[in-house]
Symmetry: C2
Subunit: 263 residues, 2 copies
């Protein structure tokens, strides 16, 4: 059996009870932290809290050499962990399909995700979000500035009066980790799209003290939202309850909100 378990958003207590139980019952526990990370817990924290040894694999160890994980799953109960929800990445869908091909039973124990949190923490309604996008570091996509596809996604959502969730790049090399901040992302969009558009930054979603701030993109670009992870939302027009929520929960200036309320 290969059980994919989402660790959820923040630390060792963000997992569901069902997920925690699956970890405790497993013969072997694998994890990867290159698609996402828990900002509030180290590997040692997880191992100590769940009382298991966790074998961390890098991208090559999953995409090119999945056999050890698949063998463990065919011989016993293996659990595969990621931050958030496990199946967000196509890489892991591939791992699941390989297991199924070998006749190994698979299951998924869901974790909370940035999508959940983006809506939940801001008061922006979940059914008003369009397609999400990811803003990469320049070095990640090998070109300057904001990729056209990001702006196209935001524009296409706004044409339909929908909100856009912008995931911010994480760059993990052998020797360093870089997390794009909400300020950097807001600044990139302010420079190359619209400085006066309303944006909302969510920092440390799922933590005990998340920060949520809404303002014009150029104003957000000069703020410090603290530790990672950050998300950027670009709302469509605001329904009244959404306006009230951004005022109360995200400290949004009244004049900025007034420009963005739906007729």
């Amino acid at each position: 059996m290969l059980t994919f378990v989402g660790l959820g958003l923040y630390d060792e207590r963000s997992i569901t009870l069902a997920g925690r139980d699956a970890i405790r019952a497993a013969d072997r526990v694998f994890a990867e932290f290159y698609t996402s990370q828990l900002a509030g817990a180290t590997l040692a924290d997880l191992e100590s809290f769940y009382g298991v040894e966790i074998e961390v694999r890098d991208r090559a160890g999953i995409e090119r050499d999945p056999e050890p994980i698949l063998d463990a799953a065919s011989e016993g109960d293996a659990v595969f962990l990621t931050a958030g929800d496990t199946m967000i990445s196509t890489t892991h869908v591939d791992l699941r399909l390989r297991a199924e091909e070998r006749g190994t039973e698979t299951r998924v124990i869901h974790g909370t995700t940035a999508q959940t949190a983006a809506s939940s923490l801001t008061g922006l309604q979940n059914y008003r979000f369009g397609k999400a996008t990811t803003l990469p570091f320049e070095r990640s996509h090998g070109a300057e500035g904001v990729p056209d596809s990001v702006i196209e996604t935001i524009e296409a959502n706004r044409e339909r009066d929908l909100h856009t969730l912008v995931f911010l790049d994480i760059s993990i090399d052998d020797d360093r980790e870089d997390f794009m901040t909400g300020a950097t992302a807001a600044g990139m969009l302010a420079d190359q799209w619209r400085a006066d558009a309303l944006g909302t930054v969510v920092a440390r979603a799922g933590s005990p003290e998340p920060v949520v701030r809404a303002d014009r993109l150029d104003a957000l670009s000069t703020e410090d939202f603290g530790d990672p992870l950050h998300l950027l939302l670009v709302p469509g027009s605001l329904h009244h309850i959404e306006r009230d929520a951004l005022a109360a929960l995200a400290d949004a200036p009244a004049d900025v909100l007034a420009d963005n309320v739906a007729e």
Copy 2:
């Protein structure tokens, strides 16, 4: 303090550890089950498992008479529970804002949601979903058939080659509960939109034994997916990994998938 806690998708073990701890530490625990329900646990199951008394409120008891909850939150630690994630409903955003207005601190402990599960269980990629919609019972929206807005949302998503998550209506009266099935929903869309379009039904997301089935809408309309809750997905064109996932995980016929693979 007013803490909104999402119970997650299925039963008493779908909650996060952080959520369970908040319940145990609370002076009073409130809940509502009119926006969504846990298919795998009764109120008694929850009370017994968490070791607390849970005060269930109906819609009127939250929207028109929130004072008892707000009073409890200003006098001590109150927790407010819903299935899934608490903040999905504007009703609860309103409750949160009322608490903030009174100077009561609020926080949100996220729960897993249908969005998470729809992507995770099917292999359809999360960044390829457009706006979600809800298919109501005819008696709920007071007209025959499928509302134009539902078809417009699906069509607008498909124009951008995006998947659509269709939430299915839950109708809760004093004396009965009705859950729209995936088969009913597929049949309604087959009749009034496109019988040969690819659909995917997810039944009992978050449970130990979810069912995922993909086929043409008219074929799905004759199947029995078992107990609630059900979701219907209407995919855009499929990337190759998505096609492989629907074949392996959703038993989709090869000819139906072949018609839907992206160029």
